[in-house]
Point group: C2
Chain length 164, copies 2
């Protein structure tokens, strides 16, 4: 079930609307895409079943929950053997402060997006959990001064691409 799903124009509009407002009612959605409710709901269910829609999530304000800083960390490892890469990924998978972990090409092996409650807790996390992890050669971190754009999801052809 990993073939490229054939999405028609109505599917794309459904996806764009649900990406912009994940709690829109089915009748509203149906009206916006020019269908009645039942066939619209069937399409949504099919898109969920096919994992084109992977879930629905509330977008929470990090600051109000006490996560006032966002940090990017560029990590290089001593060994890039697959088992060592996987070991590092498994390590950060268990750290709640690590929100994203991407393996990159080039000199940097991984880029991590981190959140922290304040600078002291970030520093203790950095030295206690990250730079001290096995196989880590270097960690360069940069604090986020401000975030001017942070869209959720991806552009959808034929709908507003954003949310966020």
């Amino acid at each position: 079930m990993n073939r490229p799903h054939q999405l028609d124009q109505i599917d794309l509009e459904i996806l764009a609307h649900l990406q912009a407002d994940g709690r829109m009612t089915n009748v509203d959605l149906a009206q916006k895409v020019g269908l009645t409710a039942p066939p619209c709901l069937r399409r949504v269910r099919a898109l969920e079943e096919a994992q084109v829609i992977r879930g629905y999530h509330a977008d929470l304000s990090p600051g109000d929950l006490g996560w006032s800083i966002t940090i990017f960390a560029m990590v290089s490892l001593k060994s890039q053997a697959e088992e060592d890469l996987k070991a590092f990924e498994a390590h950060v998978a268990g750290l709640p402060e690590v929100r994203e972990c991407h393996m990159l090409n080039g000199e940097i092996d991984f880029i991590l997006k981190l959140v922290a409650r304040d600078l002291p807790s970030f520093q203790s996390f950095l030295t206690g959990k990250l730079t001290s992890a096995p196989n880590v050669a270097s960690v360069k971190t940069s604090l986020t001064i401000r975030t001017s754009k942070s869209l959720i999801g991806v552009p959808v052809q034929g709908g507003q691409s954003h949310a966020g």
Copy 2:
């Protein structure tokens, strides 16, 4: 309206559940947090009103929508005067391939998260829209080989911190 909202344990549980499943019905949510439906709904509305909940979004599969590559771009500008920083932010705000734009401290001025349909379209985007933008001194890009962790949102004390 930017004072730290006082969130009690039930609020945190509500947020955790809605972050994990943004389309959960209010009665299900109420049952999970140990309330009846009406007071639970009032809390949710209050959290939305206070912008602790900023919205709800479907999480779409980028690959199924044709966005098969994710790229990080580290951008340095020639001038870091505030007006020049803002001009760059305004420029990338209009580019749909740019999903996130974070201003950082240190040598790198901005980190961008990009999506592209394929390598040729990425290369044309890079040379046509990014490196050629006014005031850009250097752009270093790294393709994402794989993403081992990509959590939506932030950790919520007293609830599962994740989603998707």
